[in-house]
Amino acid sequence: MSTVAIPSRAPALRTLASTDHKRIAGSACVIALVFFLAGGLLALLMRSQLAADGGVVTQQTYNELFTMHGSTMVYLVIVPVALAAGLYFVPLQVGAAEIAGPRVALAGLWLYVLGGVCMWSGFFTSGGAASASWWGFDPLSESIHSPGSGMDLWIFGVMLATLGQILWAACILATALRRRAPGMTLMRMPMFTWTMLATCTMTVFGFPALILALGLLWAQRHLGGVLTGGAGAVDYQALFWFYGHPVVYVMFFPFVGMVGEIIATFSARRFFGYSAFIVALLIFSGLSMTVWAHHMFTFGVLSNKYFALTSTALVVPAGIEYFDFLATIWQGQLRFTTAFLFALGFLVQFLIGGLTGIILASPPLDYGLNMSYFVVAHFHYTIFAGSAFGLFGGIYYWFPKITGAMLRERLGKLNFWLMVVGANLTFFPMFFLGAEGMVRRVARYPASSGWQGLNIVASVGSFVIAVSVLVFIANIVISLRRRRPAGDDPWGAHTLEWATSSPPPRHNFVALPPIRSYAPLLDLREAAEQHAANHPSITAAGVSA
């Protein structure tokens, strides 16, 4: 519990200056939505170019498009949203009144916004935006090959955004480790909080490598002599990929946590295999810090076999997690809400991404498939058809808690099915294109290759995704305008965030229920049922959390 030290003096500054973790996270999500739409527009332009096999944009512009699309989606959309979800819900799930370090969290929001603006301002420079891919690898990103301030603005933008993310992760980590309510031991923390713990550990100890790499790149651009020749190219990418692999797990674990909560809630069962899942999470998140040079197999410089071993070993913890998801559904009392559908979509589609990842983890295969559309398909299945589906599930699940209003279920289901069709239509053909030898980051391809047909299919799919996003936005607008009140716990959920009002008050809880497991509200409900069963003459009036 806390008291206010200084009352707010300028109401207009509330959102920009508020130290309420819920407001900070909410602002971040709104901003991320704007960047998502912008990054999506770039993708539609790219897909138009590839469907037509040239003629829509110049090659230089195309290089800017995929650079900014990838950079926006990674640095400015999925990572910030993943962390913002933790910023909003970890304090609630552990029964805390505040995030640890509220001003640090606020600083993170500012750095995120400033970083995004900085990066995108590259489009307004004479040389255009950065065009050396979202990796910014040298020597292509050096001043001689990427002259102009667009590249520098990109470097600063990524640095600022990443610093903000590290600050957020530190706050969430501190909250989970030190601000839990009495009775909430580590082994009673909910699924989502555990996945955020793993995520934030990877962020705090993995992301600084990117800031170092970018600092070296900037120094090379303006002072020279820092990253020279082949060794310089290897060093930059070694640092980059030490960040670049964990970042994709930062874009995965929080959504695994959301999916876990959703499946448990809509199967009316506590999450199955909690302790095995926690161990798997520890193994998975640590292991994922050691697979990074599988992005460099085709250099032939680092120990390919070690990274093949660690990358393939990922099937073990991943398999445990899938087992637990399925076991939670088993013999449950299922409710097919939109959130549950998106969670199921995650399970199916992420699996495709994960299995193709194991294929790429084998150097003899990677030598033939690296840098091709097979890889593009793989990571879009994991990050879009996987994580983003988990994210939409989380949105449909938690929107009532955040806003106090329910999202429309029928529009939600339309959103879901359009997105399933769109995602698979766009990305499945790319597996075949990659296997046939179409490399990525090309603005056009030979007509004789016969690749245009599949490219047209993929491009049609991308526009179906766009329509599904419009349906989603319509759902949000309609649900906020003609509100259907949600109440504290519309879903009959298990965890503490549902034990307070929707939206929660400034300091989160008026009172906390007893915490005896990782599903305290379910415990209360089951105890009440038990009590009613033992005392049939007394009617249980239902449990209010």
Binding site: A10, L16, L114, F156, L186, F205, L302, Y306, T310
Partner: protein, 124 residues
């Protein structure tokens, strides 16, 4: 609360173990250096947290936080402008430094107000 550090220690040790495993694969130095630093940092943080929590009594009094901090935003804008200034000129670094100073000043003000409120609360 006292055993929270176990997460960081376990994670750091696991990463350290996997890093050391590379020795069987003729690694380059950089393969040890980067994850080794991360592992060491995690273990160190875990040890620091263990030490901090060992003697910590659960603080039952309420915490005092600043509800609204425009100084934070000012400071961050200053940081961003100073960073950009390294590429665009000293004038921008100076503007950034100025804003940063304003922001820091604001945070100092917030901290002093907090201290005043704490003293008032404790004397009541």
């Amino acid at each position: 609360m006292k055993r929270a550090a176990i997460w960081l220690l376990a994670w750091g040790l696991w990463l350290g173990l996997l890093t050391a495993l590379q020795a069987a694969f003729a690694p380059k130095a950089i393969q040890f250096a980067i994850p080794g630093v991360a592992s060491a940092a995690c273990i160190t943080s875990g040890l620091a947290l263990w030490a901090a929590d060992r003697n910590r009594e659960r603080d039952e009094r309420s915490r005092l936080i600043t509800d609204s901090s425009s100084a934070t935003g000012t400071l961050m804008v200053g940081v961003a402008l100073a960073l950009l200034g390294s590429g665009f000129g000293l004038w921008l670094i100076l503007i950034g430094a100025g804003m940063g100073a304003l922001g820091l000043g604001g945070i100092v003000r917030e901290q002093r107000a907090r201290g005043r409120t704490l003293r008032e609360r404790d004397t009541r």
